[in-house]
């Protein structure tokens, strides 16, 4: 597709999006297996705690609900992304993963890396883990401060990254939350990650949800957002590390400069989740009032096939809040689902609008 002009790509993308929404093949499933966490990050979108109010979900409950999904879409593998909280706090994590892999699912984890050491790495690989994301929010002082002051947070995350980067069977990346204080240090972090042979890196901004909802100082202004986008574009041009902006927002003229393809929020289109209480939703960071059912009372596949309409047809968003009259509507279509609050009265933040100086 590389030789096509951008306008042709846009048309094809538009057809592709429409087609995906109609077919909605589920190929990416989150499992929020625990809400416990071993860190207390300042910017956590989940507001997790060392001891959670809700107990960990029994693996059998999750597995029995989603088992019919394996092989449902032919050769297209469904990846189960085990998340939390911190999934490594579950002692049975490898066994859960092994059962998923034996049933034909791909699986991966999202981790802060604190408890990821060599024995755990071997155990997870032997159980068929094929994908990992590790969070690293800056160099040592910055990372440790944002990770709730745990001194070894950075060292342990780097240990995890080194192990992961040396394993060719893993599809992995490092993610970094960018805020006012870390923006200026991205070049240093890029050099560090390149030195550690990291191939893929992804930048986020911090969504005003969870614990981060109470900390406005974490948000980038329009000029800072553009600096971040320029940094991503320059790094991609350089080609030493595959850096992307996450799929959290439409970025206007930056679209194909900061990621491989155009913005498309696939929550409820290709992505579902089973949350800690059994709720069936799309991405776990979406307001829980958007849940479409519950594995303890509904058939998972029935919910996926027949509900999720408000995520597959987002026309209702067009006349609400910042989307009203927006010229980028067709390309953005309401932005990322996790930025809509439970009242459904508008998106909480619009990075595109901020970059346009509005």
């Amino acid at each position: 597709m590389g030789g096509l002009s951008e306008s042709v790509k846009r048309v094809l993308h538009s057809v592709f999006k429409e087609n995906e929404r109609k077919l909605h093949p589920l190929n990416y499933l989150f499992w929020e297996c625990t809400q416990r966490c071993n860190l207390a990050c300042l910017h956590c979108g989940s507001d997790c705690k060392a001891s959670a109010r809700v107990p960990d979900m029994q693996f059998e409950d999750f597995f029995n609900a989603v088992k019919p999904l394996a092989g449902r879409y032919g050769k297209e593998r469904v990846t189960v992304v085990i998340t939390g909280g911190e999934p490594l706090l579950r002692r049975d994590l490898a066994e859960c993963g092994r059962r998923l892999a034996e049933a034909g699912f791909g699986w991966g984890i999202v981790t802060n890396g604190y408890a990821y050491d060599e024995p755990r790495h071997r155990e997870l690989l032997s159980a068929g883990m094929g994908a990992v994301t590790v969070s690293l929010d800056g160099m040592e002082e910055m990372h440790n401060r944002f990770r709730g002051g745990r001194e070894r947070s950075f060292a342990n995350a780097v240990r995890a990254i080194d192990l992961i980067a040396s394993s060719p069977q893993l599809n992995y990346d490092v993610v970094t939350c960018v805020h006012k204080q870390s923006l200026g240090a991205l070049s240093e972090l890029r050099a560090f990650l390149t030195e550690h042979r990291v191939k893929a890196w992804r930048l986020f901004t911090i969504a005003p949800i969870g614990r981060a909802a109470h900390n406005d100082s974490l948000q980038l202004d329009g000029q800072e957002l553009k600096r971040m986008m320029d940094f991503i574009a320059e790094t991609r041009e350089e080609g030493r590390i595959d850096l992307k902006f996450s799929c959290e927002a439409y970025t206007g003229d930056y679209e194909l400069k900061v990621r491989d393809w155009f913005f498309f929020c696939r929550a409820g289109v290709n992505i579902a989740s089973v949350l800690i209480d059994g709720s069936i939703c799309a991405c776990p960071n979406i307001d829980r009032s958007f849940a479409q059912g519950n594995i303890y009372t509904d058939d998972f596949m029935d919910v996926w096939e027949n509900r999720f309409q408000e995520m597959r047809d987002r026309a209702w968003m067009r006349n609400l809040g910042m989307c009203v009259g927006c010229k980028a509507w067709k390309r953005c279509e309401g932005g990322a689902m996790h930025l809509w609050n439970g009242e459904r009265d508008g998106i909480m933040e619009c990075l595109y609008r901020r970059m346009c100086g509005r």
Binding site: V15, V110, S126, A131, T133, Q169
Partner: protein
């Protein structure tokens, strides 16, 4: 577009997959999720049994030189995942009794398995009890 049947839409989807070559539109990642698991490991599964009795042996560590490992369960079943990249013509698999107090002690078994044997399905590991 609205009137296209599901079959036509599936064909259209397949065409997108074919022409995008890099599958860039299909290889996706949720905002707060990991990349997709593209399946670069091969599953080795089999049963560990006693040569004389043909009974399953529990607690045997089955491992590769690259440190992939698993322990046999009470039915002797073992299942582990090996990186495709490490599977050349053959691979040495070691079986060790790390649970000697339970059911007697078995001699270590080292065996060479071909790629076809590993990918092809169920493998039997037959172990001798130590005299």
């Amino acid at each position: 577009m609205k009137t296209l049947s599901r079959k036509l839409r599936s064909m259209l989807r397949a065409a997108f997959g074919l022409f995008s070559l890099t599958s860039v539109a299909f290889v996706m990642q949720a905002c707060y999720g990991s990349p997709q698991d593209v399946g670069l490991s091969v599953r080795l599964h089999g049963t560990v049994v006693d040569r004389e009795t043909q009974e399953p042996i529990k607690g045997i560590k089955v491992s590769t030189p690259f440190e992939a490992y698993s322990y046999s369960d009470s039915l002797g079943n073992v299942s582990l995942f090996i990186p495709e990249e490490e599977l050349l013509d053959s691979l040495r698999i070691s079986c060790e009794d790390v649970d000697s107090t339970d059911g007697g002690y078995y001699n270590r078994l080292d065996t060479l398995l071909s790629y076809q044997e590993i990918e092809g399905g169920h493998v039997s590991f037959v172990m001798d009890k130590a005299k």
